[in-house]
């Protein structure tokens, strides 16, 4: 969506009246029927189709911003910044796989497909991730030579559509991620609109060029956790028990889903909250289905702890990770690693103000652009257009991503040292307090200045 998906508090000029004048005139905007809502209704009435867009939930939900760390003081010793060691490495998948991943930073790159993204963007993600020793992930469209070639650690997604799925790539993968859902649309399949189904994308997906493509929402050959256990067994047999197997869920019932994934034999569980991005989904789905990342983590951790497998089956959390503080908070709540998608694209150049004029021409603005389904991305990332794609230099993009990943890691270390932790994994819920009652209840850490956790027994 373009102009009608601006956040509620954005002051837009009413037609014929300059923005600052609406307040001076004492015009009262409806909280229920705000301008974005009015524009949505008008757009629906004009077109007869629902709005499809990229990104994750844009509504405000309780998030990591609502948590604070309790730094060391009298009763806790801090570690010296720049001197004392604070390790960041993580091993993923050592429960059953003989070749687990050993990453240098717990910040990984989430699954994004070639098709949704350009080949240059996929290559840039691989380059950036490899430079800092972390993993990148394929998406709903198969593995490209560009990303396999540039990714030291490549996670191969196993999706309902099975586009481009083949045993050769499966054997080449460093890990396999069975995708049940994603945070932006738990219970939804994928879609890729015709503008992006070029000859190469169509070939990889065995589809006619230019059609609006729907990806299945259910796996074609298994249903439920008992089948999943057998499916995981098959993938392990094909890969001779070498390759770690992740199970990715969109956050809706993470307590049960995590427990069932573990019982089905997952080495790693990936939980994606509703702020996690998508390349193209109905806005009504993105904004109204699923739960916030903050609410999902403690539920997943509880399931792992009750099974006695916390830290043995690793938990990767995604959905709205932007800063090293977010990384540290997710890990303090019990995650072993995190994944970034939207933030990685921004690091590559998505929504860069340098393309302001072009965003305006598309009816959007830098900072608001989410029409990833359209294939007209001025930054050359969410497109298959050769001219637009060529704007993203994969080497320079990879360098920007590596810079950003280093910053995230160093920021998380800064906080961990302040809390006296010699490894990011030593962060714990006890290091956190919440700023709001909602965040306190969801994250299960006390409201700041109190010992109160709403709902705690």
């Amino acid at each position: 969506m373009t102009i009608n998906s601006l956040p509620q508090d954005t002051v837009l000029p009413a037609p014929g009246i300059p923005a600052q004048r609406t307040e001076e005139l004492g015009l009262r905007e409806s909280a229920t029927f705000d301008r974005a809502t009015i524009a949505d209704i008008q757009r629906a009435a004009a077109t007869g189709v629902y709005d499809i867009r990229g990104w994750g939930a844009k509504r405000k939900v309780p998030h990591f911003d609502d948590l604070l760390f309790l730094g060391a003081s009298m009763s806790r010793y801090p570690l010296e910044g720049y001197r004392e060691k604070c390790d960041t490495d993580v091993v993923l998948g050592d429960r059953h796989a003989s070749r687990p991943l050993h990453l240098q930073t717990p910040v990984t790159i989430a699954g994004m497909s070639f098709g949704a993204l350009s080949a240059n963007a996929k290559e840039a993600l691989g380059r950036g991730a490899s430079e800092v020793g972390t993993s990148t992930t394929t998406g709903d469209g198969g593995m490209t030579p560009e990303e396999r070639g540039q990714s030291k650690h490549l996670v191969y997604q196993y999706l309902p559509s099975r586009y481009g799925m083949n045993p050769d790539d499966l054997r080449k993968a460093d890990a396999i991620e069975i995708v049940l859902g994603q945070g932006a649309k738990p219970g939804g399949g994928g879609m890729l609109l015709g503008q992006k189904i070029t000859e190469r994308v169509a070939g990889m997906r065995t589809l006619p060029v230019g059609i609006d493509q729907r990806s299945a929402s259910r796996h074609p050959d298994w249903t439920g956790p008992d089948d999943l256990e057998i499916k995981i067994g098959e993938l392990r047999e094909i890969t001779d028990w070498k390759t770690p197997i992740y199970v990715k869920i969109g956050a809706s019932r993470p307590y049960y889903d995590t427990a069932l994934a573990v019982k089905a034999g997952a080495d790693v569980v990936v939980v994606d909250g509703m702020q996690g991005g998508t390349a193209a989904t109905q806005q009504v789905f993105i904004e109204n289905v699923g739960i916030p990342t903050l609410a999902a983590i403690p539920q997943a951790v509880q399931a792992l702890q009750e099974l006695g497998l916390h830290r043995k089956v690793q938990l990767i959390v995604s959905g709205g990770i932007r800063t090293g503080a977010d990384v540290a908070k997710a890990m303090a709540l019990g995650a072993d690693a995190v994944a970034i998608g939207t933030a990685a694209l921004i690091a590559l150049g998505d929504n860069d103000p340098r393309y302001a004029a072009e965003y305006a021409a598309l009816g959007s603005a830098a900072g608001f652009y989410d029409d990833f389904q359209d294939g007209r991305d001025p930054a050359g990332i969410t497109t298959q257009d050769p001219e637009l794609s060529s704007r993203l230099d994969p080497v320079a993009g990879g360098r920007r991503l590596a810079n950003y990943l280093r910053v995230l890691t160093m920021e998380a270390q800064t906080i961990a040292r302040a809390c006296g932790k010699s490894h990011l994994h030593n962060l714990e819920p006890e290091d956190l307090v919440a700023l709001t009652i909602e965040a306190s209840a969801m994250a299960r850490v006390p409201l700041a200045g109190t010992s109160w956790i709403p709902g705690a027994k």
């Binding site: 077109t47 007869g48 189709v49 559509s161 099975r162 799925m165 083949n166 045993p167 050769d168 499966l170 054997r171 609109l193 015709g194 997906r205 065995t206 589809l207 006619p208 059609i211 609006d212 729907r214 299945a216 074609p220 050959d221 298994w222 089948d227 057998i230 499916k231 067994g233 098959e234 047999e237 094909i238 890969t239 001779d240 028990w241």
Partner: protein, 236 residues
């Protein structure tokens, strides 16, 4: 514990008895196999993931029933099952041949990209779901929702087809000799032209069948749902 002696190219078949050795040993042996070898699996006992991920031009004969995902992700060579097969037979097959002499459960040849899957008996629901180039020949009937979202390849049914055949089908072609309980969204009957009769004749011959191509009807995509349109909302 299985004792494996690497068979010479001309040597007789190597037999693995699953009554006494785990599936892991079988699959590892098959992954280490070299072109031209022949293997026999006895006492399969309906175990899952038998002969999955084969990557060499070998022949494997399974003497009995197989569980889920038999010959999954098959790439080269031939797997023959003298019994029934469970869910997801030859799922995501790339090439080569998988032959079941009995019946197959649901999702047979799901997402197969190539090769030939022959089921002498009946197949359950969702046969050929999301097929991407595989050829499937079923001697008996197939269950409901078969060829759902089928993208490419050919599905031949010598018996009857269940409800919602070919729902949301893309470019796969379906040939049915018997009755079709109902067609799914965007799937229609199409004329049998000479090229289709020839194609079907070849598929039946490859499956070792003697059915007459002239007795079949052809089904495929009406291509009305290839682009999102408000006018299609009642079709789903």
């Amino acid at each position: 514990m299985v004792t494996l002696t690497a068979p010479e190219t001309t040597a007789p078949t190597t037999t693995i008895d699953l009554a006494g050795s785990p599936v892991r040993d079988l699959n590892q042996a098959l992954h280490n196999a070299i072109d031209g070898q022949a293997w026999t699996v006895t006492s399969p006992g309906g175990k899952h993931s038998l002969a999955v991920g084969i990557d060499a031009d070998i022949s494997v004969a399974i003497k009995g029933h197989a569980g889920y995902y038999a010959a999954g992700m098959h790439k080269t060579g031939t797997v023959t099952i003298s019994g029934n097969a469970g869910v997801g037979l030859a799922e995501n097959i790339m090439s080569g041949k998988v032959h079941v002499k009995g019946d197959a459960s649901q999702s047979a040849a799901a997402t197969g990209h190539g090769g030939l899957v022959v089921i002498d008996g009946n197949a359950g629901a969702r046969c050929g779901i999301s097929m991407k180039g595989v050829d499937i020949v079923v001697g008996g009937n197939i269950g409901h929702m078969s060829a759902f979202m089928a993208q490419a390849g050919r599905l031949v049914v010598c018996g009857d087809a269940g409800e919602a055949l070919g729902d949301s089908i893309y470019e796969a072609r379906i040939y049915v000799k018997g009755s079709v309980a109902s067609l799914g969204a965007d799937c229609i009957e199409k004329p049998m032209n000479i090229e289709h009769l020839e194609e079907l004749e070849g598929l039946l011959a490859a499956a070792g069948r003697t059915d007459d191509p002239a007795d079949f009807k052809r089904y495929g995509s009406a291509r009305n749902l290839y682009h999102f349109s408000v006018h299609n909302s009642a079709s789903y």
